[in-house]
Symmetry: C2
Subunit: 311 residues, 2 copies
């Protein structure tokens, strides 16, 4: 397929959107924003680094590429406004590869009514790269939720369950839905001091939030919400499931800090899920810039450095 063929197909297949006066086909797209602030992110999915065409369908790869980027929108509690997709396509891919990847991108974007407004394609004798750029905006009157606002005494909360995401062909890392709705709901009910999405594992990501906020944290190891996938993995490799919950990457769950006074809104009664998603308090923000893992007896253990990183 030649570039022009693909771009023609693309501009034909992307539906009109009221917020996009100029879509694919001109030199740039034009997107209407409600406010004077734009939130921006770029993120790439590389074959055999983040995904694997030998195991994953092109469509699933498109879905994941978009959802990885939308997970960052969730992390800021912003609303995705538009996406752009750039494809580096292997020459030996059949004609449908680009269309299938793009169909996956479009399906994932449509979940959040987010238009795709730009595309670029190039064909080469190397492997697939899917690059996604997201534009977002905050609902009126709400500031973006950065990593830098956590305060000593804040409770640290995670959504969902952690660990084992990467270990199966159709694991959580391919099938997750970005926590956009949850982030919006949380931001409307409590004051989110700081938030991020967990992409490299709690062990690596929590230090980033703490560094940005110039704080430390005490995390209660036995409180970590462990995913069934981490349990199955632990049964196989005989490492503790809780270690997988700490160290494995690509959970795409939210990690956030709120004041103690907001806890009754998040946890009104034992077992209640007022936001429709399991939330777990895993620890507390501390003033000392140091991370500590607590065991069941409140004994302190050093923070496990590292976690998952694409090299």
């Amino acid at each position: 397929m030649r570039e022009n063929d693909f771009l023609s197909w693309l501009s034909g297949t992307v539906p009109a959107h009221p917020a996009v006066p100029v879509g694919i086909g001109d030199d740039m797209a034009v997107v209407r924003l409600g406010a004077g602030e734009a939130l921006l992110k770029i993120d790439q999915c590389m074959d055999r680094v983040h995904v694997d065409l030998r195991k994953h369908t092109p469509r699933d790869i498109g879905v994941k590429a978009v959802n990885r980027c939308l997970s960052d929108c969730a992390a800021m509690a912003c609303r995705p406004v538009s996406l752009m997709i750039s494809l580096a396509l292997p020459r030996d891919g059949d004609e449908t590869l680009a269309r299938e990847v793009f169909a996956g991108c479009q399906a994932a974007a449509a979940v959040f009514n987010c238009p795709i407004v730009g595309g670029d394609t190039g064909i080469w004798d190397q492997r697939l790269v899917v690059t996604v750029a997201a534009l977002g905006e905050m609902p009126k009157g709400r500031p973006p939720v950065c990593r830098s606002g956590a305060r000593p005494g804040d409770a640290l909360i995670v959504s969902g369950e952690l660990g084992g995401s990467l270990l199966w062909r159709q694991g959580h890392h391919m099938t997750f839905v970005p926590r956009i709705e949850l982030a919006q709901a949380l931001a409307s009910k409590v004051a989110l001091h700081a938030m991020m999405d967990l992409s490299d594992g709690l062990a690596m990501d929590l230090p980033r939030l703490c560094a940005a906020s110039k704080v430390g944290a005490m995390v209660a190891g036995p409180q970590l919400p462990i995913s069934p996938a981490a349990e199955r993995l632990a049964a196989r490799d005989h490492l503790p499931a809780g270690l997988h919950a700490l160290m494995d990457g690509e959970d795409y769950e939210l990690l956030f800090a709120v004041a103690e006074s907001d806890l009754p809104t998040l946890f009104p009664a034992p077992g209640a899920e007022p936001f429709g998603v399991r939330l777990t308090r895993i620890g507390t923000v501390s003033e000392e810039q140091n991370l500590v893992l607590l065991d069941a007896n409140d004994q302190q253990h050093p923070w496990p450095q590292g976690g998952y990183e694409h090299q």
Copy 2:
């Protein structure tokens, strides 16, 4: 170099910018806009497709990747507000590859005081991809200049000179400066009905502008401004230099349509260059949706289909 090392280096090396309250290092960047419309573009530079690491320095590749994207900002007559850069890096590249590519990106962006607000890197055993996403906005009160507004009777103008861009290691395609300033100056003085930048050659690009505007064009072949590079090329390959001006790609000059009544502003006197750049009227927009090449005797010739396309 690991991803985190690079991103740390990046966030340290990118200077603060008053329009960027949240820069590299959070889940998304936050960029202030003056108005409620964002202009967006994504564009990739692939090794041995658009550039060649065997011939071009990493820094020059970074410059070109950014300038290609900024040329689209010029084409809409918009002001670039921010850029994001994504790098797929060959594992056998030495540690400085990413830094040199990025230094080139930053140098090119700095020419227009355009902050780089986002980055992603991944390392693999394949070749280099540099993907650039641009956010732009229009000066207050000015609409974006699309491809779709050309009207029958409009004059067709090109900036600079055409042809031969690609044929030398340090040809125009590596060294051009995007026509941002020219586009701003033009938009402030005349009514630009339609505009685009010439990336695939006039023979392929003019039909795109005409198709978007639902018009045709008559182009005077002998009027085409031929670059010295096209002349040198013609001396070597014995094809007419004018054919190179029509067919060669990567001119990154502006092609635009204005009413006849605006011509005195563009051409106040023979040889005058009121915008500091050579402008040439190459033809006229016609109602009939058909492209025609006129010779020195006003005889009509069929439009040379094709031109340059990255396959």
